[in-house]
Amino acid sequence: MSETATGVELLGLGDDALIASQRLAEWVSRAPTLEEDVALANIALDQLGAARMLLAAVGDEDELAYRRDDHGFRNCLLAELPLGPGRGDLDFGWTMSWLLMLSAAQLLRYTDLAAGSDEQAAAIGAKAVKESTYHLDHATQWMLRLGGGTEESHRRVQQGLDGLWPYGHELTEGIRDRWLAIVEPVLAEAGLTRPADRWRPDGGRAGRHTEHLSYLLAEMQSLHRAHPGAQW
């Protein structure tokens, strides 16, 4: 591993993408429009594709995805949060706030990866940069529509943003200024209030997660774990 792309970084980014993909896939067959169903599935697929490349760069993708307990995962907390105010909820306003925050950070991380000296990591980064650019654009367009749409949509997307914002600190460690330079103008154009910085939950990168992750993993790993050693 080069100095710009350590195994720890790749694992963190890979786990972010894997868990984000699992969350996004909850939207399948539930999106507000059929076009959005296609778009969200597509973003989930991109996240899964990036996760597979990143995890394969540090180990066996299935061993990593299916055999670790939650404290073995290194994703930031934002990735694992429910896409709505509580467990099991799916709220489109929360989801777009989440995607804006996540994809802006992923774009920066992948850009740095692409510019690094580790060839394999750079190739992964270069591919993922293009996808993140699209994800960020998709989230941006929706933030504008929801922020500037109806009173209800404004209220709901602001609520999601307020709920998720604190998790942005861990997400953007080391890239915060560059990240704010992407996100703040979107919020301003959407007429949304940029939440204040106060609470800064973290721990994901060290394997200390929220209560949500172990539920997500229980479902994701259930079939694989029920058949130890089987091939699929």
């Binding site: 399948v28 599935a41 697929l45 899964l48 594709g49 299935d62 489109f92 749409g149 058949h227 089987a230």
Partner: protein, 308 residues
Amino acid sequence: LDGEASFEAVIAADQKIEPRDAMPDAYRAGLIRQIAQHAHSEIIGMQPEGNWISRAPSLRRKAILLAKVQDEAGHGLYLYAAAETLGVSRAELDTALLTGRQKYSSIFNYPTLSWADVGAIGWLVDGAAIVNQVPLCRCSYGPYARAMIRVCKEESFHQRQGYQSLYVLAQGTPEQRAMAQDAVDRWWYPSLAMFGPPDADSTHSAQSMAWKVKRFSNDELRQRFVDMCVPQAEILGVTLPDPDLKWNEERGHYDYTSPDFEELMRVVKGDGPCNRQRLAHRNRAHEEGAWVREAAAAYAEKNRKVKA
């Protein structure tokens, strides 16, 4: 040439009817019904397969399944667009699905109970769909025929993936083999029923044939499907759940037991294992998305005014 004569001439010449061409009202109405039902089937079909995305047992299989379900949404989009060329609006089509006024394929009213169902659906359900749909690529209505070419191409890909996924299970651990066999046991007859009632009882078929929308009878297609599946089942090493299945030298086809058409009618009429669940799921997604669609419309309207 007047409209009717011109329509008949195009059909006779095996050429395509296009949206602006004159066409009989019944041709238009029949096509709208058929294309809409097909589109609705893609949309509802996302649910049974989507049910296993979160639990797919390897990341590779998860990616394949997610891509497949995404393709189904995409097929729904092309097919709705094809139906719209016949003068029906997307909103009317949505309402027809949500209220149960228009049907979708009854096969999606069965539950997916194990991972092997994903493979069995790929092999049998997509397989049956392809047998049904390949002739539609030559259907007389241009937009539908062209949509079907793209759909069939992707479905063949899905079918191969499903078959391959099931093959791995059938060669796997005893539990995996049992899972594969159980899935085939549950999906075989519902797949046969996908070709519709027996020719003797089939209503719309004769006119559909004359208009070159439909080109083979239900029973012809069903036979083609059975003949295709038997050797594939042998390679897989699974048993098709029909003790009377055997080669008939004289007919040059496999004899087989017909599906239970009474069961099919019960499911069509709403009493399959998952009819209520599938429709409730769709309605809920629609209702919960209302505020988002309203916001998008309001935003577009504001921007239109600003630009005007």
